[in-house]
Every structure is written in C-alpha cells, then in structure tokens.
C-alpha cells in the first residue's frame, strides 16, 4: 500500500482526528475482537486517554474461534492495553439459535448488554464499537443493537472507511493492518440452519485444517452433511493442486462431502438471492 506525500498527510490528519475524537470521551471500554478495526480503536484510545482510562474487552462464546481469542490476547498484550474476556450467551437465546436473517441483532444485543455492564462496573464513560464507514452498507442488523444501547463508533463518527483504517494502522505499526476480515463462525451457516455449538465447532475444526494447508483467505460454509469451501481467487490453483488433502481435512472435521466452490470466496455469499426471514424483537 504505497502512499504519496499528499496521501500520507491525509492519513496523518485522519489519525490525529480519531485520537482527538476519543480524547473527548473521558474513559472508554473498547469492544475488542483483535481485528483491524478494534485494534486501531484500542491503540488510539490508549494514546488519547492513557491505560488507566481504557479497557479492551473481548466477548467469548462458541462462535469465536480459539485462534481469534489467542490473537486478541496477544495483540492486547503487545499494545499494552488492559484487557478482559467476558463470556456471552447468545447461543442460549432461541431467537439467535434459530439463525434468522437478523441473527446478528440478537448476538450484538447480548454482547453490548454484557459490555455495558462491565463498563458500569469499572466506571467507564463510553463503550466503543469498531464499526467503520464501509460497514453502514449492506445487511447489518447488529448495528441496530449498538445504536439502541448508545454504543459509540468513533471510526464511523470521524468518517474512516476500511482502507483508511488499514492505512492508519500501518502508519502506527499495528500488526493487524493487513489482517483479513474475520466474522464469527455463525456466518458460515446459511440462514435457517440452526446455530449449535456442535456445528460451530465443526466449522472451526475444518477451517483450522484448511489453514494448516497454507490457505489464508477462505471460508468453510456448512451445508448440513456437506462443507463448501470458498477460497480467494488467488488461491484457487493451490486448491485444485491440494484437492485430496483438502477433502481429507474437511471430512476429518465431520463432513460427509467436501466441496470447492468454483467461484471462490465471496463475503456474504451464503445470503445471495435469499428471501430475508427476520425475527422481530418485541
């Protein structure tokens, strides 16, 4: 990601704007996944407010892969930001487990409820979410849950899109600057297929095995007895070459059929062309 002089000035200004914006918040709890957005948020919050007024909190449940949990802890330690993990119980909510098209609303509602409780316990003024300006496009039911609970989204509030987040992260030397997006494991199940701890663990086992084979950007989609692997276009030739080992990896995770999607990894592909079935909140 090469920048000319003008672009570098703009990135520096965006970074200063973000830090100044957070500095006005007195004290913050950062909803911290260890991903690109929340790591930038935690890093800037630390600079704006100091370690005694910032707490990064990671929500833990079967929908969070163990690799993400380990990475979040490691990155938080490297940043020097105070860090906690909190268990979330979205799987126990039948409205979430039914996996409707607004599943994320119920998940985020549970997450922000728990994190708001922690913020009150620690006397922190604001709870921060890593939503950026690109996230307001597309189907994002989780955003409604954040709005209802008054969760702040500084990256969005100062107008940063994902590319800007990555540029600022790189400028700050953050290890996450080029990290691929990493949605929760429930996103691998098509709407209508119930979310269970067993299915989530199956997807996690399959993805760990595919990652061991050297693939970096991919998803294992759960279709009942079949696993449908989506890999980035740049990795498709490798997938053809490693087909037998990929088949073994997916069957080893408990799937009866191991499939490779010929069109490659596409964010949101499970929901292409689907009528959206929502569960209303009453």
């Amino acid at each position: 990601m090469e920048e000319g002089g003008g672009s570098m000035d703009r990135t520096a200004q965006q970074e200063r704007d973000l830090i100044a914006h957070i500095a006005a918040m007195e004290s913050v709890l950062v909803g911290y996944s260890g991903g690109v957005d929340s790591t930038l948020l935690a890093s800037c919050a630390l600079e704006a407010l100091g370690a005694d007024r910032v707490l990064a909190v990671t929500g833990i449940s079967p929908s969070v892969p163990a690799t993400h949990r380990v990475a979040a802890r490691s990155t938080a330690r490297r940043l020097g930001v105070p860090h906690l993990e909190v268990g979330t119980g979205e799987l126990e909510d039948p409205r979430y487990a039914a996996n409707p098209s607004n599943r994320c609303y119920f998940c985020k509602n549970e997450l922000w409820a728990k994190l708001s409780d922690v913020a009150r316990e620690y006397g922190l003024t604001c709870v921060l979410d890593g939503t950026n300006a690109d996230d307001v496009r597309g189907h994002r039911p989780g955003a409604a849950a954040a709005r209802e609970r008054g969760i702040r989204a500084p990256l969005l509030e100062v107008g940063l899109d994902k590319a800007s987040v990555r540029r600022i992260s790189r400028r700050r030397g953050l290890p996450t600057w080029d990290q691929p997006s990493a949605p929760c494991l429930a996103s691998r199940l098509p709407y209508g297929l119930a979310v269970t701890a067993e299915r989530l663990a199956q997807v996690e086992r399959a993805e760990d095995a595919v990652r061991e084979l050297g693939f970096r950007e991919f998803r294992v989609r759960h279709h009942g007895d079949a696993a449908r692997l989506e890999v980035a276009p740049a990795e498709m030739e490798s997938a053809f070459a490693l087909a037998p080992r990929l088949a073994e990896a997916l069957r080893g995770a408990g799937f009866l059929r191991a499939l490779l999607d010929v069109e490659g990894y596409r964010s949101g592909a499970l929901n292409e062309g689907l009528p959206l079935v929502r569960l209303e909140v009453r």
Binding site: G224, A243, L246, L259
Partner: protein
C-alpha cells in the same frame, strides 16, 4: 421427473453443449441448492458457474473427493 432431476438434466445438457460429454453433476446441501460437478477441468469451472446458477442452483462446486487418487 422431479424438479431436482429436471435441473440436473438441464445442467448435463449444458455440459454436453460445452463439449464436456463425460462431465456429470449431482446436488448437495440440505436444500439441494449446490450443483456439484465431476469430470470438468478446473480452469473451465468458473466460466460455467453463471449458466449453471441460472438453471436454479445457488452454488456451483467441485467434489474434492473426485480428484483423489
């Protein structure tokens, strides 16, 4: 002929029209919404996908096990 059989028949016709008489197709997934191809060279798969999806499948995939020795 069931709806599944009709879709599969149309995909086989498509494959034959593309000079792939030995390729075959089956369905997968709880909703039978995945067309699973066998006997098709990897480089041709992606180009066939839009036409196969227009026949009524949501996804087009290769059976990885069919490439095992």
């Amino acid at each position: 002929m069931s709806a599944d059989d009709a879709r599969l028949a149309r995909v086989r016709e498509l494959l034959r029209s593309q000079g792939l008489p030995f390729a075959d197709v089956s369905t997968a997934g709880a909703n039978h919404d995945i067309a699973v191809l066998e006997g098709v060279d990897g480089s041709r798969l992606a180009s066939l996908a839009p036409a196969i999806r227009s026949i009524g499948f949501r996804f087009v995939a290769l059976d990885l096990s069919s490439r095992e020795g």
